[in-house]
């Protein structure tokens, strides 16, 4: 059976394995996707007659808690990859479990302590421009978190079978999933002050 080339060894022309260059190109497109929304935010805010302080509408302590949850999940993600580099599959499983658990916790906190109270107070996206851009940007980000959680659960569960056959390729897959997960963290690092604190 023909093997997919350059999944482990680097391509001579790029110096990278294909998945690595693939994920960086994908993340570049993601920068432009979120960049469009950040640009829209700047346009809406500078064009508005009045703009509310984020902290007067949003829950800053909960936002701070979620920031810390996502940062912690980023470090457990990179530690799961490091565990594979040290040939320790059980440690990898522990760190990967923590990563997707924290990702799920982020989503639960967002839904239960942020979105639900807003809806209970009839603060819908249609209520104001601020709420419209808040729900759009955090909703898109939450979808990215959900996507990352699904991929991480796969590598924690059935996807780890590849470790038995080709450990180096599995390690590369986890590294690529990690790059995506850190990007999701990176977006939140900017979303949090922009929406909650300014």
């Amino acid at each position: 059976m023909m093997q997919i080339p350059y999944t482990v060894e680097a391509r001579p022309d790029t110096g990278l394995h294909n998945a690595k260059i693939g994920i960086w190109l994908f993340l570049a497109s993601e920068v432009m996707l979120f960049g469009g929304f950040f640009s829209a935010y700047v346009l809406l805010r500078t064009g508005a007659v009045v703009w509310p302080e984020g902290s007067s509408i949003l829950n800053v302590p909960i936002g701070t808690l979620n920031t810390l949850i996502l940062i912690t999940s980023s470090v457990t993600m990179v530690l799961s990859w490091a565990a594979l580099k040290m040939n320790d599959l059980s440690k990898f499983r522990m760190y990967m479990f923590l990563t997707f658990f924290l990702g799920l916790l982020f989503l639960v906190v967002k839904l239960v302590f942020e979105y639900t109270p807003k809806f209970e107070h009839h603060l819908y996206p249609s209520k104001s421009t601020f709420l419209a851009i808040y729900f759009t940007m955090t909703g898109l980000h939450a979808l990215h978190v959900l996507g990352g959680v699904i991929v991480n659960i796969y590598f924690w569960g059935p996807g780890r079978k590849l470790w038995e056959i080709n450990p180096e390729r599995f390690t590369n897959r986890v590294e690529v999933a990690g790059l995506y997960w850190h990007f999701v963290d990176l977006i939140w690092i900017f979303l949090f002050p922009v929406l909650y604190l300014l």
Binding site: A28, S55, T64, V78, H182, P193, L198
Partner: protein, 101 residues
Amino acid sequence: MDNIENVQKYVRRYLTVFGALAVLTVITVGASFLQVGIITAITIAMIIAATKGSLVVGVFMHLITEKKLVFIVLSLTLFLFLVLMFITLFTFGNQVGIHVS
């Protein structure tokens, strides 16, 4: 990053960066209570966010040890992102619909 000793060294670095990110998050929230103008507040918040972002991209995403091609891709992305951010400045010159008496 091939041998186990090297990976262990990097693990210590990851934990240090994690501590720095947590501290910077607290500083971000603390700085928002400062009684300063909006421009100063935005500048402070963006400097802290950019520092945190650099740590995540540089250390967690291993950009500091990445190949040249990745830097080329990201440089082009950064340029286009900045165009996207500053393109809104053109609206300040747009007088359509504004009636001057």
